[in-house]
């Protein structure tokens, strides 16, 4: 293609290239601090195990927060090729980098696997001798051999291998195209995105069941995987807006990413605010109407002990406010407005991941340990930024020789 790029505009700012390792170090330190705060502050009193439970749950929630950006990115990339989308080519490399750090984020699950393999049951109640568990539902799942530490580890490794494999495959094809400009590389990705997306759907569903849902091993919800998926997509799109705007603020991607791309990302944010609410409500209404004790347990801990305010607040801050805020196209085409909502949604996405995990610590909402948990959330963000810059340091910030690049640069939204 005859496109010429200014080399300056498609590279990370030089000052950012030295940041990855410090950021990763900061992220790890913040996570350790958060873990320590959880361990020491949340415990005590009659419930001596609570500190350990709080710290491990907090780590899992922040890990899911970190991983969700890459999970969303992988799906986004696959959908772009599945639909042969042209509009997104200019912003696709940023998404590809987010996708390609999935193996790094996945490594952060090793501590959890370590807990499981050493027989710790602070996080996963099922990871102990079934005779010590009163709930026959959990006992049944252990005795069936599904919730069992070795099998759990095997499955986790398979999930991470599949997701990382697909991410690396897509990323390498895209990088190869940077060199050769071969359209066949796009066609190959188009061909495989269909089968891969099915693998992705099953993997993410079971990943959500095993890693997050099984902290309440008696409870089950078949829509849970979709819930985690919807939340991940929301986090991904919001993070896309933030990263692209940050890069443009630093003088990069000039003339490549324009208001039309932001408008579309804004539409996706708006759509996934709605989709998240739809999925969350779908899960709630069936359980609420059925009113069967083994199903309501998950909501019982979320609607008692102080967590009820948190859960109800989530309806407002995760649905009502951003829904109305992103409703207008003028907001979605307004840079500062969209950036505000992107930051808002990343924050409530963290709240949502916290909502999925933390109430299961049992013992109600406690403010001081939650501050520790929040520090871990910042740690996850720092880790994400570090991983992102690490991966972005030596690759162009756009897919320079993608045959769909001209389509993306001239694309415009119709006036409604």
């Amino acid at each position: 293609m005859g496109l010429k790029y200014d080399k300056e505009t498609i590279e990370l700012p030089a000052s950012w290239k030295s940041k990855p390792l410090p950021l990763i170090a900061i992220g790890l330190i913040l996570l350790v601090i958060s873990y320590t705060i959880g361990l020491t502050v949340a415990g005590g009193g009659t419930d001596s195990d609570r500190g350990m439970r709080f710290a491990t749950h907090s780590y899992l929630a922040n890990f899911m927060f970190l991983l969700s950006f890459s999970l969303g990115a992988l799906f986004f990339i696959m959908v772009q090729f599945l639909t042969r989308a042209g509009w997104s080519t200019a912003i696709r490399r940023v998404a590809e980098i987010k996708m390609a750090i999935l193996p790094y984020s996945g490594l952060m699950f090793i501590p959890v696997l370590g807990l499981v393999l050493t027989g710790n049951y602070a996080l996963y109640e099922w990871n102990q001798d079934p005779s010590k568990i009163h709930n026959s539902l959990i006992r049944g799942k252990i005795e069936d051999g599904y919730l069992q530490s070795n099998y759990f580890t095997l499955r986790s490794v398979i999930y991470l291998a599949l997701l990382s494999g697909m991410s690396i495959w897509f990323f390498n094809k895209s990088r190869a195209q940077d060199e050769s400009g071969d359209p066949e590389l796009s066609l190959a990705r188009q061909k495989w995105s269909g089968p891969f997306i099915m693998v992705y759907a099953l993997t993410v569903s079971f990943l959500a069941f095993d890693w997050v849902m099984s902290i309440d091993a008696a409870w089950f919800s078949t829509i849970f995987g979709v819930y985690v998926f919807a939340a991940s997509m929301l986090g991904f799109f919001s993070m896309m807006v933030i990263i692209n705007m940050a890069l443009q603020k630093a003088g990069k991607l000039q003339g490549l990413v324009n208001v039309e791309h932001y408008h579309d990302l804004g539409k996706f944010m708006f759509g996934f605010v709605m989709f998240w609410s739809y999925i969350a409500f779908s899960q709630l209404v069936l359980i609420w109407y059925g009113n069967i004790p083994e199903e309501t347990e998950w909501y019982r801990v979320r609607l008692n002990g102080g967590w009820e305010y948190y859960s109800y607040a989530l309806i407002i801050v995760h649905f009502a406010i951003p829904f109305l805020g992103l409703l207008s196209r003028h907001v979605r085409r307004h840079k500062a407005g969209l950036l505000f909502w992107a930051c808002w949604l990343v924050a409530v996405h963290w709240m949502d991941m916290t909502y999925l995990v933390m109430p299961n610590v049992k013992g109600g909402f406690a403010v001081v340990p939650m501050v520790g948990h929040l520090i871990g959330g910042f740690g996850a963000l720092a880790l994400f930024a570090g991983f992102f810059l690490l991966k972005a340091s030596n690759v162009p910030l756009v897919a320079v020789r993608d045959p769909r690049m001209p389509e993306s640069l001239t694309y415009s939204n119709p006036i409604l």
Binding site: F281, V285, W288, Y289, N291, S412, P414, L416
Partner: protein
Amino acid sequence: MSDHKPKNTTGTKAPKAYGWMAEYPDEHKLLEAARKVRDSGYTDTDAFTPFPVHGIDEALGIKPTVLPFIVLCCGFTGLCLAVTMQYWMNGVDYMYIISGKPMGITPASVPVSFEMTILFSAFSTFLGMIALNKLPRFSNPVFTNPRFDRATDDKFFLYVSASDKYYNRDSVKELLGGTSPDVLDEVVEDGSPAELPKFVWLGALLVVLTGLIPLMIVLNIRESFSEKPRFHVFLDMDFQPKKKADQQTTVFADGRTMRPQVAGTVGRGQLEEQDAFYLGYDPNDLAATVKMTPTRLVSLQDGAAQPPADAPATQPPAATDSAAAPATAPTANATQPPAAAPMPAAEAPEKPWLTELPIEANEANMKLGELKFQIYCSACHGYAGNGDGLVHKRADALAQGTWLPPTSFHIDRVKAQSVGKIFNTISKGQGKMAGYANALTPKERWAIVLYVRALQRSRDAKLDDIPVDKRSSLEEAGSK
């Protein structure tokens, strides 16, 4: 359309002009021309293309529509209406308990509110689009030119209307001519008359009048009386060549359609009707008491013999627990010959209810009884049989005054009842209580009787009734 007159109408025959239409071979030329026309200040313009052209809105200078705001307002109206409606219906006007859910707005209200929002939004989008486009419009002068048909095929048209406030015939022609169109035509009125033809009016009138006929028929039927039988649409379905059970027939000598059981046969389920395990009483004892064999009952119904005048009323009541039977107890109807006058209920002979359980009083049966009791009985009678189940509590909370509380098992009348009688109550129901014979097998019903007996006994139990080795656990529990 518009009463605007083009400035130079040459000659008397010239038809009314509506503006200029330029034809282009591709969308790039069209976009270029559209921008030029827009920059010249014309706003009453339109483009016609075989496919949607990106950027044409901006090139034509079309302002964003107000439709989204109309839709937002209507959608919000729908939401408010749905919430108000549901709150009024279930929270105020008709407070009806549905599976113990709260009144008024609940999570179950969300789908309805969502649907109403969507409904109002969709309707306002559609109708708003129609109204803002000033539709329906039956004819448009742009169709006069046969070249325009290719707008759906391979040509691109730009139209500047004569109703534009800056319209000037010559300058527009010059402007459009300068964009190098393939063809430049003036849009003129076609020669056909503007009025609707008479036959259209006549046809519409006919349609309206015909449409009134069904309405008139309905009104007529509603407002008039008729002694004739109703109209039979399907005669062979209304009058089928068959006999119903209570009709007469000439086929059989006795004139009855429903046939008595053939001697020496056993109907399905009939054996059970002679077994105390299914009945709660021994049918042979009953026959002995009322001095009437089952065979005799059949022959009476058959009309073969007249009933003895003194047959039922003088029967001594069954000895067991008739005194404890409530006034509404199901009477032994089967023992009454049809010719006899109905007896006062209080004098109805009580059946010889079983006094011993036909099942073993072991742990398995007790567990079965407990399980089934908690599933089927406890909702009304309560887990301890005090007649204070959840249904009772909720009905009581409504305070409507018509609620008859469920019976407590610990009152003397029930305690005095024999097991067969309790079994019968479970099977056939009592008062407001429905029978549970369909839901519970006889064994389960007997198990419930066993459990009810255990509940009754536990009320007056003493420590001595408990086996020595179990007492300690009870004392432990009590001390906690």
